[in-house]
């Protein structure tokens, strides 16, 4: 009963702009789920608000389109109540690094077993193209009245500082690699963060597909475009933490940060960091609540056949009882 790609599709009309990078991400997610044979009911895709936020409606799994900036706490709440769910969080760069930055930072240090996919298009798409927190200082995209006045946040270095245990950068027109990253992210034990270079042809006329593909810089010899993005795995890069000791972590942190900062003419994409030496939040909870993984909150029976509560609080009442 292998899943087909069509099993992951809905009949909802997709109203993204033609050529939008979001389509690549959608395809990659659907392909990942199909390849992983995750039946629709076992998966919940949470999203923020923005063009990207509409994505759950196009995927035939539980789809929770939440509030602007709040996708992570929603997703975390659902996952912690039922750790058997596969939980994917998806949202824009404004959603994640602007209004949602506080959650983004504080989710990292929890390491709940979810996969967070962030669409980096440099703009607030759905509100008509204002600068997002990832747009570089001084850039003037189509819809801005002047050059961008803020420095950019780098999603990769921020994720590193926040404690994510899986950090990757994908590119929405490299669907093959992206699909693999998402599969790995879902399989990763802990919080996976995948930042996706997602061109917005409507508002970001600078970081376009053509720009990423190097259409503006042709090899003088061959006349071929020299793409700016390149796959890091093809350079033999090892993203994994093996021992987890301080030195290794420190060195890897440096490496990841400098990969993250490469956003000019050579942009690495792929898995930068993967660390499974750190326990997940669920595992930490299980140390406090031995029954947690077996009977998590959503799976506990709370009442008997005619609604009688199953919790027995008599000992607690006795503590307060003064007789």
């Amino acid at each position: 009963m292998a899943l087909k790609l069509t099993d992951l599709k809905t009949s909802v009309h997709n109203d993204w702009c033609p050529g939008c990078g979001d389509f690549g991400v959608l395809n990659a997610i659907q392909m990942s789920l199909a390849e992983m044979d995750l039946e629709p009911h076992r998966v919940a895709v949470f999203s923020g608000i923005g063009c990207s936020g509409k994505i759950p409606h196009y995927i035939n799994t539980y789809g929770i389109h939440t509030l602007h900036g709040r996708v992570l706490p929603y997703a975390i709440g659902a996952k912690l109540a039922d750790p058997s769910l596969e939980v994917i969080a998806a949202g824009g760069d404004g959603d994640g690094m602007g209004i949602g930055a506080g959650h983004m930072v504080n989710a990292g240090r929890r390491n709940v077993d979810i996969c967070y996919i962030m669409f980096d298009n440099g703009v607030y798409g759905l509100t008509k193209g204002q600068a997002s927190p990832t747009l570089s200082l001084g850039l003037k995209t189509k819809s801005l009245s002047g050059p961008n006045i803020n420095e950019a946040i780098n999603p990769i270095t921020l994720a590193m500082a926040s404690g994510y245990t899986f950090i990757a950068r994908g590119y929405s027109y490299d669907v093959r690699q992206l699909k693999e990253l998402i599969k790995k992210g879902i399989n990763h034990r802990g919080s996976a963060f995948i930042s996706i270079l997602q061109p917005c042809p409507t508002y970001n006329d600078i970081n376009t597909m053509e720009w990423h593909g190097g259409q503006d810089r042709k090899d003088p010899a061959t006349g071929k475009a020299m793409p700016r993005v390149y796959r890091i795995e093809e350079k033999g890069y090892d993203p994994s933490i093996h021992s987890g000791d301080a030195d290794e972590l420190n060195k890897k942190m440096q490496e990841v940060n400098s990969l993250g900062n490469q956003l000019g003419d050579e942009i690495p994409i792929g898995l930068f960091y993967s660390n499974e030496t750190i326990p997940t939040y669920e595992e930490r909870v299980a140390e406090r609540l031995p029954n947690y993984l077996k009977t998590p909150p959503a799976k506990q029976q709370v009442s008997g056949p005619s609604g009688e509560p199953v919790a027995d609080i008599s000992a607690l009442l006795d503590n307060l009882c003064m007789t």
Binding site: H57, L72, G77, A78, T295, G304, A311
Partner: protein, 663 residues
């Protein structure tokens, strides 16, 4: 001689154990067969500011403070200075004889206004600006002053016990103050001893220390001031099992029994005590006879063996708290979050999302002094209208307001039942007084408690639901507005949610026709609730139905009103009291029928603008005749209610009466 009725007060610097000694006093009284009611007043501060606790004891059940103490137990100077002048005539003050000469200006924590008022008073009475001066003033007022040489007694006890360090343990003075009070009251020392044992459960060394210093203070007072004090407490024999607990504990207990399995929170006064209590009791005993999920034998036996649990999640802010609770509710856990005003501000958007997506989530809302940060540890009921109207647009919500600790417990259970049955956010309004005051009740009756999880569907049901159409519709249009829901992970039950207006599947729509149907469906639930929820869960008419005067109130003033009604009955003033417990949907029909019978109506609320009265007028057209309001951050007392009612019943009274008692 007044027997088994007393208002006792103790005070001291925050962080020096005042609460513990007051609870000790209350527990002892409860153990002695009396009922207690204790109110705690403290600053938004960790150490050093003045805190005090008033404990009222009585032979019958009581739910409110009185304005003035009969006996003030002190061991520091500030407590004498702040409270001595408020002690009742014929009452008493216990003080540390070493502190007589402390000057008012030696107390840096005294507010400028308080200092000025006291100085004026002392000057008018030609008294010195010191503890001595204040005590002298009290004496002139007819109050008995009982000096105790705490230091000497401690030293003695230290040497008796061979514990020289003991004499430095000023914390011991707390117990001594309680014991000295017991001495004056001629109360049985053994009840104090058993309260000490229960309080320091298992720590035998500490128990022994406390008992020893306690006995020394008790004996000292009995010896020195034998029979001088007119108030007496006597042990009462009773078979009744009783609990002595705070509102935040009662609420937490209600949540546990009510099936709450995820609680999210961000620390805030006075809400986080509840989460702390839940976390401290996160592993739950399970009653095996009630486990019946035959579909999963392995799981049930597992639960039986290992107990249940509640996951308490401390989030990075309240926005995360409410949204994580909603996420957990979607997965199927009964979920709640607790907060107070500033935190609720940050939950509004999430609550609206739960509204449009019909997610059952409970918000326990502990009101405190506002606006803004306001008075974080003081009493107010200023958030009713905020709770009622928070959020853009219109969606149904239920608002419950508990009037005492017992109601906190049952309403916590109701909250989850309503949330799941009607698939909406429920706000459970509590206030600082309820949360932090402690009272004695007959043991709660658990036998009637039922859990109603509403329309949750899976398996066969789901197939039926999906048969007409191809697939399951989360927001199926129905007569009563309620659509069977699935939990995340249910096979065949895939649905979508969005904050946008949506179609029956949960997909975004901007179609004007579907929009109106969806709005109507959601709002319809308020009517369904109005029809279905038993009226006794929504309001209570206390007292004689036929009274000419009807008091209308909600929340913690209930205690003072009920107690005042008793007292007024003795003076032949008969009023009844309409307590509103379900603020939304408001039981308007019943309110109209009660209020239209009354010749005079009096609203009592702990806020500036009489918020419930406004809501009643808006909903029923009935303007309440008189408003008694209080917003100085201190709880309302029985005598304040009595006085106000007398004024309003007997004389041509003002429309609005502002109460200001409290320090």
């Amino acid at each position: 001689m007044t027997n088994n009725q007393l208002t006792w007060m103790i005070g001291g610097s925050q962080g020096t154990g005042v609460d513990s000694s007051a609870l000790l006093f209350g527990r002892a009284c409860t153990l002695g067969g009396l009922y207690g009611y204790g109110n705690r007043e403290y600053y938004s501060n960790i150490k050093g500011e003045h805190s005090y606790f008033m404990v009222r004891v009585h032979q019958k059940i009581i739910h409110s403070p009185l304005s003035k103490p009969d006996l003030l137990a002190t061991f520091d100077a500030e407590t004498v200075i702040r409270h001595a002048l408020s002690v009742n005539v014929d009452g008493g003050i216990i003080y540390n004889s070493e502190l007589s000469n402390v000057k008012l200006t030696d107390i840096p924590t005294l507010e400028h206004r308080v200092l000025e008022d006291l100085v004026t008073y002392l000057d008018n009475n030609k008294l010195e600006h010191s503890v001595n001066g204040i005590l002298e003033a009290s004496r002139r007022n007819g109050v008995h002053i009982y000096a105790i040489p705490y230091g000497d007694l401690l030293k003695e006890a230290a040497s008796t016990l061979g514990e020289p360090k003991l004499s430095n343990l000023t914390r011991m003075m707390n117990t001594m103050a309680v014991a000295a009070s017991f001495g004056l009251l001629e109360f049985d020392l053994s009840v104090l001893d058993s309260a000490i044992s229960r309080t320091f459960h298992g720590k035998s060394k500490i128990i022994q220390l406390n008992m020893t210093v306690g006995k020394s203070a008790y004996d000292y007072v009995k010896g020195k001031y034998a029979s001088g004090f007119q108030y007496k407490l006597k042990k009462v024999q009773t078979e009744e099992k009783r609990v002595f607990l705070q509102g935040n504990q009662a609420t937490a207990l209600g949540k546990l029994v009510g099936g709450c399995r995820v609680q999210t929170y961000y620390p805030i006064s006075p809400a986080s005590d509840e989460s702390d209590y839940l976390e401290a009791n996160q592993i739950l005993k399970i009653n095996p006879r009630r486990l019946s999920d035959s579909s999963n034998v392995e799981k049930t036996t597992y639960l039986e063996k290992n107990g249940g649990s509640v996951l308490v999640l401390q989030t990075e802010d309240e926005t995360a708290a409410i949204t994580a609770a909603i996420g957990a509710a979607l997965s199927g856990a009964r979920s709640s979050t607790s907060t107070s005003g500033p935190g609720f501000c940050l939950m509004v958007e999430g609550m609206g999302w739960a509204g449009i997506n019909e997610v059952p989530v409970v918000i326990t809302y502990y009101q405190r002094g506002g606006p803004s940060t306001g008075m974080p540890t003081r009493q107010e009921q200023g958030d009713l209208r905020f709770a009622l109207h928070a959020g853009q647009g219109e969606f149904p919500r239920i608002i419950l307001a508990s009037g005492d600790q017992r109601e906190c417990f049952y309403d916590a259970v109701h909250s989850f039942n309503y949330a799941e049955r009607y698939q909406l956010p429920v706000i459970h309004l509590i206030d600082k007084t309820l949360a932090n005051s402690t009272a004695t009740y007959p043991m709660f009756d658990l036998s009637g408690i039922r859990i109603d999880r509403g329309a949750i569907t899976n398996g066969e049901n789901l197939n039926n639901l999906s048969s007409g159409d191809k697939t399951y519709k989360r927001f199926l249009f129905t007569e009563d507005g309620i659509s069977p829901r699935t939990l995340l992970g249910t096979k065949g039950g895939v649905f979508w949610n969005t904050g946008d207006e949506h179609d029956e599947y949960g997909h975004i729509t901007e179609d004007p026709v579907v929009r109106v149907r969806m709005m109507d469906k959601r709002m319809k639930k308020l009517e369904t609730i109005d029809h279905e929820v038993p009226i006794q869960e929504r309001l209570t008419l206390h007292g004689n139905e036929e009274s000419d005067v009807t008091i209308v109130s909600w929340g913690s003033p209930k205690g003072a009103i009920i107690d005042a009604m008793d007292a007024l009955n003795d003076e032949n003033i008969h009023v009844n009291f309409l307590q509103i417990r379900m603020i939304n949907p408001l039981p308007s029909e019943n309110i109209i029928s009660v209020l239209s019978r009354a010749k005079k109506t009096i609203g009592i609320e702990m806020n500036y603008s009489a918020q419930l009265a406004g809501w009643i007028r808006e909903s029923t057209g009935i303007a309440i005749d008189h408003h008694v309001v209080k917003y100085n951050g201190r709880p309302i007392s029985q005598d304040e209610v009595c006085d106000s009612i007398k004024k309003l019943v007997k004389y041509d009274a003002p429309k609005r009466l502002v109460l200001t008692h409290g320090t």
